[in-house]
């Protein structure tokens, strides 16, 4: 009886040892790959940082207003952020490749799905970034136009435009990732409303005389005397 237990135990131990022996090299391979990946990712990060400095990425994001947002959120600058993101993504990719070397069943599938997901993630980030730039530009433009046309509540106009564009951007990004697709529908409706609002602003600016006259009729006390045009000509 004891012999059986011993032999079974030794067999099991042998099998375990064999399994471990088989696994260890793979683990080693995985660790090596991970190490290599870390080095590569670091290199890529450094190179990318250089590139971004060259294309003045920070300034671009400053224009977009992204920098301000990040500083408010106590996050590092956008180029730094991007570098770190790329670093982690690259390293993670290598780790995944290493994991596949482990030969764990089901891993491959998971990895491939993750790798398919990656471009969409990057696209979403890109959309988000572009959206930020657009929101900043459009809102600033609207602000200036509204101020120069002497429209009341110019700031509110500008801010709401910014919010709408950002919202659209976020929903688009989310849709690309594949999260909350229903929400996108809702977002779209809101965007549609925003476009309408934008048109209204455009027409308001273009027909500001008419709008002024309408407002004069509605708020005669405030607007009446002040709305008269100057005879001054600048040139």
């Amino acid at each position: 009886m004891r012999d059986l237990i011993v032999s079974e135990l030794s067999k099991a131990t042998q099998e375990f040892a064999r399994g471990v022996a088989e696994f260890l090299p793979r683990l080693l391979v995985m660790l090596i790959i991970a190490l290599v990946g870390w080095v590569v990712a670091r290199l890529v990060k450094v190179v990318l940082r250089r590139i971004l400095r060259l294309v003045k990425f920070d300034r671009l994001s400053e224009n977009a207003g992204a920098s301000q947002l990040l500083t408010q959120a106590a996050l590092p600058s956008s180029s730094e952020l991007l570098c770190r993101l790329v670093f982690w993504v690259t390293w993670f990719g290598f780790i995944l490749a290493g994991l596949s070397a482990l030969g764990i069943v089901g891993m491959e599938d998971l990895i491939s799905r993750f790798l398919l997901f990656l471009p969409r993630l990057l696209a979403a980030v890109g959309i988000f970034f572009l959206g930020m730039i657009a929101a900043s530009f459009l809102s600033r433009g609207a602000l200036l136009a509204a101020v120069n046309a002497n429209l009341p509540s110019a700031r509110i106009l500008s801010y709401s435009l910014r919010v709408i564009v950002l919202f659209l951007t976020v929903s688009m990004a989310l849709e690309v990732i594949g999260i909350a697709e229903q929400t996108v529908l809702v977002a779209f409706s809101i965007v549609f409303g925003a476009v309408m609002l934008g048109l209204a602003i455009a027409f308001g600016l273009g027909g500001q005389d008419l709008a002024k006259r309408v407002l004069e009729r509605r708020f005669p006390d405030q607007e009446g005397k002040q709305a008269k045009e100057d005879e001054l000509s600048a040139l």
């Binding site: 300034r59 008269k228 045009e229 000509s233 600048a234 040139l235």
Partner: protein, 425 residues
């Protein structure tokens, strides 16, 4: 080539039949039916009266007018003029008319006029704006003669204006041109001017200039190109500048056009103006400064309002453009309890210079930078009007002179911030 799109087949045919001319008068129009007939007649009388032996042609570059402007130009003939019948032309007087393609831009019209002058080998090309109702035939003589007889390259006008007409020029364009380019040119963005064949050829050869000209606000490009390239300048006193009563001036559009041209030229001609140390007068034919004081309706309160609203609402935008101390002072200016805005000469000059530098560095979208200046300009107008309340012509001139000297004094500041290294973050 851009030229191919400006010169249609029909225009080319007309240029061929005219051949070579000594004097070309360009008339860029866009829906100017109310005033253009008078202008065309004045041009013809001027040419026949003062240059009867020269080969002359009038070129109406019409940017898709829909009110029959080009027909009116063709129809105006000398026999309608109120001149004595002793006026006789020895030669055929040509009138070329072209409808320009594309969007109606004054810039395309000017481009076509310069190209036509080049092809016709005109010794002088004069450009006349179709808006002035006070034009007389003598204007042609005063614009063309210095170029034709005295080898001047660019003749800019001097008008008798209303004291508060053209504040953008007296408070911005003139001081900046004077301080940075070193030339005391009263009208650096003229509607009526004349240039020589040599200068025309030079301008045609500058690709950047040609592209820029295709936009609007192009007149300033002429002046700045001439100054930067060292051409001979002269000013001629023309007379009163009056426009049609219903002439509308959209301030934002005017500023966008003119300032875009101004800032572009500062970028383009930096090597030329960075070395200038002081300003010199431009030789002037006739009086240099005349002013009228008819009563004019001005809504000062509105100016004040828009200035205050602008400074406050545009805070974040201005923060990207101006330095912190300047913005501080500006805010204080805007939010005073007084009825008057203390927008001093110094602060104004500093504002303009910082805007110019920011434009150069493109801190934010360039068009937005210009738009942000509009409310500040309104504030300056308010101050200027207060300054000149009850002033005589001499006082007015003195005020402008002081302003110009301020600009000249603060010039080094611009040079300092212009070459500031890129701000990283």
């Amino acid at each position: 080539m851009a030229e191919e799109s400006i010169l249609s087949d029909d225009l080319l045919r007309q240029l061929i039949s005219v051949g070579e001319v000594d004097i070309l008068v360009g008339l860029p129009t866009h829906n100017h039916a109310k005033t253009v007939a008078h202008i065309a007649q004045m041009i013809r009388v001027g040419l026949v009266k003062y240059f009867p032996r020269e080969r002359t042609a009038i070129f109406n570059a019409d940017a898709a007018s829909r009110d029959g402007t080009s027909d009116l130009v063709k129809a105006a003939s000398i026999s309608d003029a109120r001149e004595p019948s002793a006026l006789q032309s020895l030669r055929t007087l040509h009138c070329i008319s072209a409808r320009l393609p594309g969007t109606p831009h004054k810039g395309t019209a000017l481009q076509a006029i310069v190209a036509a002058a080049d092809l016709l080998r005109a010794r002088v090309c004069a450009v006349v704006t179709p808006e002035t109702t006070s034009m007389t035939p003598e204007w042609i003589d005063r614009l063309v003669r210095p170029v034709y007889r005295d080898s001047i390259d660019l003749v800019t006008p001097v008008y008798r204006r209303h004291a508060f007409d053209g504040i953008l020029i007296t408070n911005l364009l003139y001081p900046v041109t004077r301080a940075l380019y070193g030339k005391r040119m009263r009208e650096p963005s003229p509607g009526d001017f004349a240039f020589s064949e040599r200068m025309g050829a030079y301008l045609m050869g500058q690709d950047a200039w040609r592209q820029e000209l295709g936009q609007s606000g192009a007149e300033f490009c002429f002046a700045s190109a001439a100054i930067a390239a060292g051409y001979r300048l002269q000013q001629s006193f023309l007379g009163a500048k009056e426009r049609a009563v219903n002439h509308s001036t959209d301030l934002v559009l005017a500023m966008r056009q003119t300032l875009r041209a101004l800032f572009w030229s500062l970028d383009e001609y930096y090597p030329a103006w960075s070395g200038v140390t002081q300003s010199e007068p431009v030789p002037t034919l006739g009086s240099e400064y005349e002013v009228t004081f008819e009563p004019m309706r001005v809504n000062r309160k509105r100016l004040h309002e828009m200035f205050r609203a602008g400074v406050n609402d545009l805070g974040p935008v201005l923060a990207s453009i101006l330095t912190a101390p300047t913005l501080e002072e500006l805010k204080r200016c805007a939010n005073t309890a007084d009825a008057t805005i203390p927008y001093s000469d110094d602060l104004w000059a500093t504002t303009i210079y910082e805007f110019a530098a920011s434009y150069h560095r493109t801190v934010i979208s360039r068009d937005h930078i210009i738009q942000a200046l509009v409310p500040l300009y309104r504030g300056r107008v308010h101050t200027f009007l207060e300054q000149c309340r009850g002033a005589s012509a001499q006082d007015l001139e003195q005020n402008i002179e002081v302003l110009c000297q301020t600009f000249e004094r603060l010039r080094p500041n611009l040079l300092a911030i212009w070459t500031k290294p890129e701000g990283g973050s």
